[in-house]
Amino acid sequence: MKNLVLAAFAALAIGTAADAAPLKIGVAAEPYPPFTSPDANGNWVGWEVDFMNAICKQAALECVITPTAWDGIIPALTSGQIDVIMSSMSITSERKKTIDFSDKYYNTPAMIMVAKDSAATPDAAGLTGKIIGVQVSTVHEAYTEKYFAPVASEVKTYQTQDEANQDLAAGRLDAAMADSVALQVFLDSDVGKACCKSAGMAADDKEILGDGVGFGLRKGDPLLATLNDAIKAIRADGTYDAITKTYFAFDVYGE
């Protein structure tokens, strides 16, 4: 009986593992344009996807996109369901307690988005008494908790950034805080143009907002060095800039 069970699991393992097991790249399972979003056919496209393809080609790895719920993405990494987090995750000391990060591969400021007719400013004074929306488990949530929660009327958390954008468009929120590039895509869309505008960038706080976005890896994973080398190589030979040019008019690497 025990042999039967072990044989069944072995068969499963053979069935599920390729020769050189492909790397499971965990991506948040919601649209986050322009970095990652599913198109109508279910394929994932975006700057981060192109970047990942370049890195995997550089490091000679076989990579497979594995959509995972954002609020469970770190536990999914630590429990082995995915191997790498590539989901615009900011490098913060809080997260470093649990996982390792590669070098940063982009760094963009955080923006506060408000309704078109709002006079709010992107600081605690301007957001007093307002309803602010953020995505759960993000550096923006931590920032809002620290700076705005004491003065805001309510801080609502959403599973995905898209839900927060929708609620701002619907008028249920007064402000939303998220990455400036991702919000800009929303502001450029029909819905965004009609409803909302940017109130400006939030004052930086490197401790909370982190120092750029990097790959997330399990602690002590040797893949870290491979990925860092690949990032350096791509930046050096111009592939990074070529990819960036097709999406943005500015450099996302930041300083």
Binding site: D71, I74, P75, T78, S79, R95, K97, T98, I131, V136, S137, K156, T157, Y158, Q159, E163, Q166, D167, A169, A170, G171, R172, V191, A194, C195
Partner: protein, 259 residues
Amino acid sequence: MRKSLLQPHRIVLMAIAVLLVGYCVLKLNWSWLAEPKYQVLIVQGIWRSIWLTVVTMAIGMVLAIPIGLAQAAGPWWLAIPARVFCTVIRGTPLLMQLWLVYYGVGSLFPSIPWIKDSALWPILRQAWPYAVLALSLSVAGYEGEVMRGAFRGVPHGQLEAAKAMGMPRLAIFRRVWLPQALQRVLPTIGGETVLQLKSTPLASTITIMEIYGVVGKIRSNTLIIYEPMLLLALIYICMTGVIVLLFRWFESRIPSRVA
């Protein structure tokens, strides 16, 4: 009950359970429970879960009575819409109904410019009316079916006797049909209340911080995987137990022998 608990295999099982619980309490990471801000959130979350269950059950039952009645005794132009309503509610997932109500209706707001100036706006902005609406409609759909069976199950002789005694239709309904139907379904309602409690976690997907949402927030802040969820399961087991005991008490107070 004493005797059955003291049987040898029960004692062994209870000892194992105590050991397991002791292990969990001592070895797992419960440091987050000590933080006052989480304690406040947990209490608020439990209150919201209870409140959602009670309010939506109440509203849902009030809606279920006419829906069940329409199907049991109504003319076809009432019975068929009621039937369609119940079929749609029971045939589609509650999560979809909830998202449709919240995000679907929300997406209509920008196209209705006067809504932001109306008196209802502060209420329409918040998430709880939508959760209450979706959950109440869900209760109405499921309980409508139950009430239909209950209304049909009341012995027709009683209704005929009441009619023969000259009672007006409303009085028959109020004094004979409805009380007897409710009496028949009381055991089922207890089970349905437990099911409704178990549906409330879905409200956290539209920003309502009931206890599931609170535990999700704790998990994402502390990155601890299992311990908050174990506490969550324990809380729900306790709440379910309370509901079951409450309904047992109800049933003991109300005569359950049907004529």
